[in-house]
Amino acid sequence: MKNKSLVSIDDLTTDEILKILNLAEGFEKEPVQRLLEGKVIATLFFEPSTRTRLSFESAVNRLGGKIVGFAEASTSSVTKGETLNDTIRTVSNYCDLIVMRHPVEGSARFASEIAGVPVINAGDGANQHPTQTLLDLYSIRKTQGTLDNLNIFIVGDLKYGRTVHSLMMAMSRWNTTFNFIAPDELKMPDEFKLYLENLGLRYYEHNDFTEIISRADIIYMTRVQKERFSDPIEYEKVKNVYVLKDKMLRNTKPNLRILHPLPRVNEIHTDVDRNPKAYYFEQALNGVYTRQAILCALLGIK
């Protein structure tokens, strides 16, 4: 993986994914390892993102590396009209690796082709966010002990949510059964269902999940955003259907864990937070270990 960029989860082979997850396990046991001593990591956030940026910076700091960069485009030369091409060519002279978030889709692939150093895509518009997918995989494997043959419930906005598409594509490598729970307006797009059918994987679609929740190994919650609905009445009708409450978890499997890419608004009631099956804050912590692993793998350090 040395000197490779990470733009899309599909760029990685299954072996490479497992290698990163195994490395992340090592960082969970021993988070402070000065492996990036003398290395400079550029974090270029053309679009603000608190969690992703802080967890990358935390990962670099724990590895003893230094960070240069900006947290929003308004403090960069973009405001002077510089192209992404020029920014990337310039910044790649200053650092050993670039972490980039940009609102334009495909910007990360483009950056990886012109940068002289590896590029990690920390989100390119609605397209890809592979480090989120890797930390999701890490969280699933850690809580279930395996990635094989799990029953995964994905709830909420399945039409526009890039994290759910990437997670679904990635998990399809391990004989997963999927349950998609979404309002009609936000159903899983046909192209993804066709992808699963071609692989011979089982998936089920539901509008509500209170009846079937007892089968789940993982519930992956996402936010149903009001602005996705053309008709506000439709939103009012469904907004409470996709809210997870503690009492719904009564008859669920003991190994069930609830994941959420965060930020949460109201789709997981705060009474779930105390339930030991709630895992979303630990999931965010796993993001640091996973990103430590990704940085080291792409720099060829581990």
Binding site: L84, V104, E105, R109, A126
Partner: protein
Amino acid sequence: MKEPKQLMVSAIQNGTVIDHVPAKNLFKVIQILGLDHIDNQITFGTNLESKKLGRKAIIKISDKFFEDDDINRIALVAPDAKLNIIRDYEVVEKKVVEVPDAITGIARCMNPKCITNFEEVTTRFRVVSKKNVALKCHYCEKITSQENMQII
């Protein structure tokens, strides 16, 4: 009796004849093949009657022979084009165009949020369907279908 005046595209001794080009895409074919930048003799006719296409165009290029990879680049704008390879006024070979597996340049990505529509980036696509041509963008990974396809 006076012979009727005929307008015809004269025969060539050696070279390539590209027939069955949709008339509206003649200049796109010329552009894609870079015919506007070469020194060979070129004659073309357009808005000729065609049972199949309604109005077709024909291009004759002297002393020019194309590689398959080059000629397949016109498949997006002239999917029914037929090539006649001419040697010494005789047709020695006939070819049809085939939609290639990958397309560089030529088409625009239909996703308005794609980087190729923001910066000077040459578009790149993988052809995911050849029958009803569908292109998957190498950058934003969105699909551009035949009906939304715009030629650059």
